[in-house]
């Protein structure tokens, strides 16, 4: 009997508080649906066995952990908001004679009903959408698939289990808060005595300092390695700074404005400044969170999207031809003939023809340019602008590749340089000197450390002996250092002519074939396998980026919505008073709109600034992943910011409507 009464009470409560419960329910269903979709995709991937590596699976698993964490925070935030708004109502129940344990039973039913509805609608819509999202996911990672509708039971169970735990925690939280309240407090409800907030100057200064320090770290870091090292501390500093600035910096600034009579006593500013001081106090944490989440969304989407879209560029640099093989040349006797003969044999066996070949021996080293002289260096961690990449090639290879006709002597060289360097007519490397006979074109050879620096010296030498001499010069100095010893590698790129079946046959088992003939075989790769791997890896990252962003945007939506509601209740009274004192309805509306606009677009603007400052650092990080096309990243970033801005504006306008309804009612 009793039980049913409480259940009914709980249901009525939820219906009565539609304005605050409806978005809560919606958010519940949404996060549950998203979590279920993620789980079911992972399960379907595992069953289908389409993925070769466990990379994707691992990333999806990681994403699920982040998603649970995010979801938990979202639900805690919304739940505590709902509870705060209902304080008065719960207090009334207390006064009407419900004991605390009764209230807790009521709370239990409220959470249970919310959880039940959320799980039902969440899993239901999740099941409907998961197939579509799965297809989309396969499309993104370029795996062909057929549509079949399945609802993996293990995903349903794990979703229910995970959220049961989350709801239980929420129930405990609610019970404890109800237990701690006394009716008098509860009746006061959400409108507790509002004092004008104090400006905490020290915190504001700390915030500015943290921001400056964080920005400084990101902007002044040298080279990719240092960037990787400082990036996390910089991010943490900026997050801390964002909270500090919103919490105290904003209030300090507004108070400062208030003291300037000429600024303060202007019709537009007067209402805005005084109102903002209160608003900032209530909203600072929420706004800072919005700012951080917005930045996270922009960074995640723009970088994963540019990695994903930059695929062909990156592959083109790595694969000037469709296939690539390479081996290490220990001495001059290991001529490429062995490799070429072996390849020809394979081609002959499988009925294809090797065309468009491009092969060269190269040795790359780090060097520092100093007073007209290059000094070998293992300082890959050093300053980006001081470090040069030194590449040694032979004139035979160069002539063949570029169609040139260099004929160099022992002490002669032909060079290509990029970066701040003035060699004059001599190339000096350590204590060796070559006469520069000619300046040549960039042969555009690829190597795995290209991201380190834009500075480049390509030196074409008479023969392999000299290239090996340079290698030894380095190794005698640095073989034992952390960066290890260098080798001369022979790299061979080629296309194939023939039927695609034959091409596949050629490449399948090529490594096993070559390894028998070529002693120090290094790479056997094709652009197709690289592409497949690439899409699997960066496609997964892109997908996860989008997925988490949707979760973030959901969080942002909810924060904005509930802010607007709280403010709507608060502003209603103010709205009436201002009208009575002699502001027209339009003036009041304009004043309030200005205020809200400023409050809600402040985080977005700060997010854009964060992004702008992080941009160079992100560029350096992306270069490590071979994304050299920074224009693409810039475009992706701008597009992301604009799209996100639009989404934000739509959310804002939609929730504003609720707000105006509350205020003008």
């Amino acid at each position: 009997m009793f039980k049913i009464m409480y259940l009914r009470l709980a249901m009525t409560n939820i219906r009565q508080n539609k304005t605050i419960y409806f978005p809560y329910m919606l958010a519940n269903a949404l996060v549950i649906a998203m979590y279920y979709i993620l789980k079911s995709i992972r399960s379907m991937m595992q069953k289908a066995g389409t993925v070769k590596g466990s990379n994707t699976d691992m990333m999806l698993g990681f994403c699920a952990v982040v998603a649970v964490f995010m979801t938990f925070l979202i639900l805690v935030y919304v739940n505590s908001f709902v509870l705060k708004q209902r304080k008065k109502e719960i207090g009334l129940y207390g006064i009407l004679g419900l004991e605390k344990r009764h209230l807790i039973v009521m709370m239990f039913w409220e959470v249970a009903v919310t959880a039940g509805k959320g799980l039902f609608f969440g899993i239901f819509s999740g099941a409907l959408l998961s197939q579509l999202v799965f297809l989309l996911f396969l499309k993104i990672i370029h795996i062909p698939s057929t549509l079949e509708f399945t609802v993996p039971l293990d995903s349903v169970l794990s979703t229910c289990g995970t959220f049961a735990v989350i709801y239980f925690i929420l129930f405990c939280y609610n019970s404890i808060s109800v237990w701690k309240m006394n009716p008098a407090d509860m009746m006061k409800g959400a409108r507790e005595g509002e004092r004008e907030p104090k400006a905490k100057i020290a915190l504001a200064v700390l915030g500015v300092a943290a921001l400056a320090f964080g920005y400084g770290l990101a902007l002044l870091a040298n080279g990719p390695y240092e960037t990787i090292n400082v990036f996390l501390p910089a991010v943490l500093l900026v997050i801390a700074a964002t909270y500090l600035l919103f919490l105290s910096g904003s209030i300090a600034f507004l108070k400062w404005m208030k003291k300037r009579e000429r600024i303060y006593y202007k019709p537009g500013n007067f209402i805005t400044i005084s109102g903002m001081i209160y608003r900032m106090k209530q909203n600072a944490a929420g706004l800072a969170t919005i700012c951080i989440l917005s930045t996270a969304v922009i960074v995640a989407i723009s970088s994963s999207m540019s990695m994903y879209l930059g695929e062909e560029d990156i592959l083109r640099i790595r694969f000037p031809r469709e296939y690539k093989t390479s081996y290490i040349m220990d001495d001059v006797t290991q001529t490429p003939d062995t490799l070429l003969r072996s390849l020809d044999k394979r081609a002959h066996e499988t009925g294809v023809e090797i065309v468009n070949a491009r092969g060269y021996a190269q040795c790359w080293l780090g060097a520092v340019y100093d007073d007209g002289k290059l000094r070998l260096s293992d300082e890959v961690l050093g300053k980006e602008e001081d470090l040069f990449l030194f590449l040694a090639l032979t004139q035979d290879d160069y002539n063949r590749m570029m169609g040139a006709d260099l004929s160099l002597e022992e002490d002669e060289t032909a060079v290509f340089t990029k970066g701040k360097i003035q060699l004059g007519d001599k190339l000096k490397l350590e204590d060796r000197t070559w006469e520069i006979k000619k300046t040549v074109e960039n042969p555009e050879t690829w190597n795995e450390v290209m991201y380190l620096t834009d500075n480049l010296v390509v030196a074409v030498m008479k023969d392999l002996d000299i290239v090996m001499e340079i290698r030894d010069m380095y190794n005698t100095q640095y073989a034992d250092s952390t960066t290890g010893y260098r080798t001369v590698q022979y790299e061979y790129y080629f296309d194939l002519k023939g039927a695609s079946d034959a091409k596949n046959m050629f490449f399948e088992g090529l490594r096993n074939h070559l390894v028998e003939d070529v002693p120090r075989l290094l790479t056997v790769d094709s652009i197709d396998t690289a592409r497949t791997d690439y899409y699997e890896q960066y496609g997964s990252i892109f997908f996860i980026g989008i997925f988490l962003s949707i979760l973030f945007v959901t969080a942002v939506c909810l924060i904005i919505y509930y802010k607007q509601i709280t403010e709507g209740y608060d502003d209603r009274e103010r709205f009436h008073i201002m009208q009575k004192v002699g502001m027209s309805r339009e003036e009041v509306k304009k004043a309030i709109r200005k205020q809200i606009l400023q409050v809600f677009f402040l985080p977005l603007i700060l997010a854009a600034i964060h992004m702008a400052v992080a941009f160079p650092a992100l560029c350096r990080l992306l270069r490590v992943m071979n994304l050299v096309n920074l224009d693409l990243f810039a475009v992706c970033t701008v597009v992301t910011v604009l799209v996100f801005g639009c989404v934000y504006f739509v959310i804002y306008s939609l929730t504003s409507r609720t707000y105006y309804r509350l205020v003008t009612r």
Partner: protein
């Protein structure tokens, strides 16, 4: 010429579901001279709130006209109404209507700031007002930090600072204890003596007994009128009481 003329004022409220009309004011006529202190009395539902809303230009009459200082409310375009109200009328409300985000000083400045007045003017005007109302020491406090009487005095300062033609007071003593009420009524008299026209709507006999003239409203029309002449507060109080008794028991009668 009278400062305020109210001619054949009529206000009908249409029922929300259409059709049925409620006549809140049927035919109200009266005028107020400059410097007068007039109280309007009536029971709840008599139409006094409607009348006040019309006089404050919060609402528009169905028929009739209100003329303040020779200017008909009907001739003021809608968009100028707020500014007109701000510059010509001062309001004192039962529940003070102070903004809790502003200090008392800023609350008092509010109408002037909205009119785009210079800070020097604002400072010059607030000085004598706060001295008169004895709130100089609490000007930088916020509404939630002061008593009801102090809030109401700040509200009066806000009403007076625009140097309005007329003060409209809606149950100004309604939310105050008797001591604060007495103080407030004393202040009104002082302000009135200094030449300020006051129109007060109230159902407190005591508050009304301080006025020069009392208008009684019943069933949407002015039912009776009392002049103080040379009567004392006590005598006036008794006269008003008697009238109210007659009003409560008596039938419908035209002025």
């Amino acid at each position: 010429m009278a400062l305020l003329e109210v001619k054949h004022l009529k206000k009908n409220y249409t029922n929300r579901f259409g059709g049925n009309q409620t006549e809140a004011l049927i035919d109200v006529n009266f005028s107020i001279e400059e410097g007068e202190y007039v109280a309007i009395m009536g029971e709840s539902g008599s139409g006094k709130t409607t009348l006040l809303n019309l006089l404050a230009s919060f609402d528009k009459p169905t028929a009739g006209d209100i003329i303040l200082n020779g200017l008909s409310f009907r001739s003021i375009p809608e968009r100028n109404l707020a500014a007109y109200r701000r510059e010509n009328l001062g309001f004192v409300f039962q529940d003070f209507n102070l903004l809790d985000t502003l200090s008392l000083r800023d609350n008092i400045y509010l109408p002037l700031v909205l009119s785009g007045e210079k800070t020097e003017v604002m400072k010059r005007r607030i000085e004598p007002l706060v001295k008169l109302l004895r709130i100089t020491d609490i000007l930088d406090k916020f509404p939630y930090e002061v008593s009801g009487g102090q809030k109401q005095r700040a509200a009066i300062a806000r009403a007076l600072i625009t140097e309005p033609k007329m003060i409209l007071a809606d149950e100004p003593t309604g939310a105050l204890d008797s001591r604060a009420s007495d103080q407030l009524l004393g202040l009104f008299e002082k302000v009135n003596t200094a030449g300020q026209t006051i129109l007060m709507v109230t159902h407190s006999t005591k508050a009304a007994s301080h006025a020069d003239r009392v208008l009684f409203i019943k069933d949407g029309a002015v039912y009776h009128e009392l002049y103080r002449g040379s009567l004392s507060h006590e005598e006036m109080y008794r006269k008003i009481s008697d009238t109210l008794t007659v009003l409560a028991s008596g039938g419908k009668r035209d002025v």
